[in-house]
């Protein structure tokens, strides 16, 4: 159940919303880049093995 935040509700909720959004963006960006670089490296290695 939502606690009664009184007159500071706007400040508290915006602090949580902004922080969690920033953390979510950082996590998703890190995962996306990890996946992209891994796929690109596999492509380069496959090309190299194909040549060798």
């Amino acid at each position: 159940m939502m606690p009664d935040l009184g007159k500071y509700a706007g400040a508290v909720l915006s602090a949580y919303a902004v922080s969690l959004a920033i953390i979510a963006v950082l996590v998703l960006w890190s995962l996306w880049r990890a996946r992209r670089v891994k796929a690109a490296l596999e492509k380069v290695e496959a090309r190299r093995h194909g040549q060798g």
């Binding site: 400040a11 508290v12 949580y16 953390i23 990890a34 670089v37 891994k38 380069v44």
Partner: protein, 243 residues
């Protein structure tokens, strides 16, 4: 027991982190959800700060990680400068965006808390100012890595920048003690029991700190793995161009 220097071998680092990373990420998620839910839903308002005290569960852990993230980069940079282990240089590079984000969260949540409590979003207070400078150092560090094509040169120059920036990381931590002026209060957590926040806020705050530490660790390991792969890819592509 394996020597810590074994992890300077990228292969060893990748195989070890392959196993431990999912555990650290899961523990981080559990600690963050538990700590933030505990702090937000189950702790009372403070008699002076009202419900804004709940911002402490984001502000204190993120500020802590902003400073300690830079100190981790300092240790990794020193290892690079002394022992020339690539993994340590890449770990420092991987930690910078995570530390920068922690600094942003600390600055934003501090401003949101400061508006109703101090009557201003921002003050040129010693701790706030040194924190802003630390954020600028994070940006400069990230930009310097991106600007230099040769990885070893980039690692050398960013390591020196990291040494210089460490002054501001330490100032951010001790500004309140050095200059007994400004709006920012003293430490919320201390070995001195008298300085700590009230017990009812203390335990959920510790859980949140554990969550932020584990999140930082998980993200740095994940991003270091990415940097190791990216470095290998650049090396292979350079070999292809030479052939």
């Amino acid at each position: 027991m394996a020597s810590i220097w074994e992890y300077a071998n990228p292969r060893k680092f990748m195989s070890t982190t392959d196993v431990i990373l999912p555990w650290i990420a899961t523990l981080s998620g559990i600690a963050l959800v538990a700590g933030l839910a505990w702090g937000f839903f189950l702790t009372p308002d403070d008699y002076r700060q009202g419900s804004t005290v709940k911002i402490i569960y984001l502000h204190v852990p993120s500020a802590l990680m902003a400073i300690n993230g830079w100190l981790m980069m300092l240790v990794a940079s020193l290892i690079w400068l002394v022992r020339r282990h690539h993994v340590s240089a890449l770990a420092a590079r991987a930690a910078a965006p995570v530390g920068a984000v922690m600094t942003v969260i600390a600055l934003v949540t501090g401003a949101i808390w400061g508006q109703p409590m101090w009557g201003t979003w921002w003050a040129w207070d010693p701790r706030l100012t040194s924190f802003l400078i630390l954020f600028l150092f994070y940006l400069g560090y990230i930009a310097l890595w991106a600007a230099i094509e040769n990885d070893d040169t980039a690692a050398d120059l960013t390591s020196v920048l990291c040494l210089v920036g460490s002054v501001f990381a330490l100032l951010s931590r001790y500004a309140v003690n050095f200059w007994n002026q400004g709006l920012h209060q003293g430490a919320s957590l201390s070995l001195d029991k008298e300085e700590n926040v009230a017990d009812v806020f203390y335990v959920p705050l510790l859980v949140c700190i554990a969550g932020f530490v584990l999140l930082f660790l998980a993200l740095v390991l994940l991003r270091t793995r990415t940097e190791i792969r990216a470095r290998r890819m650049r090396a292979l592509m350079a070999r292809e161009r030479m052939a």
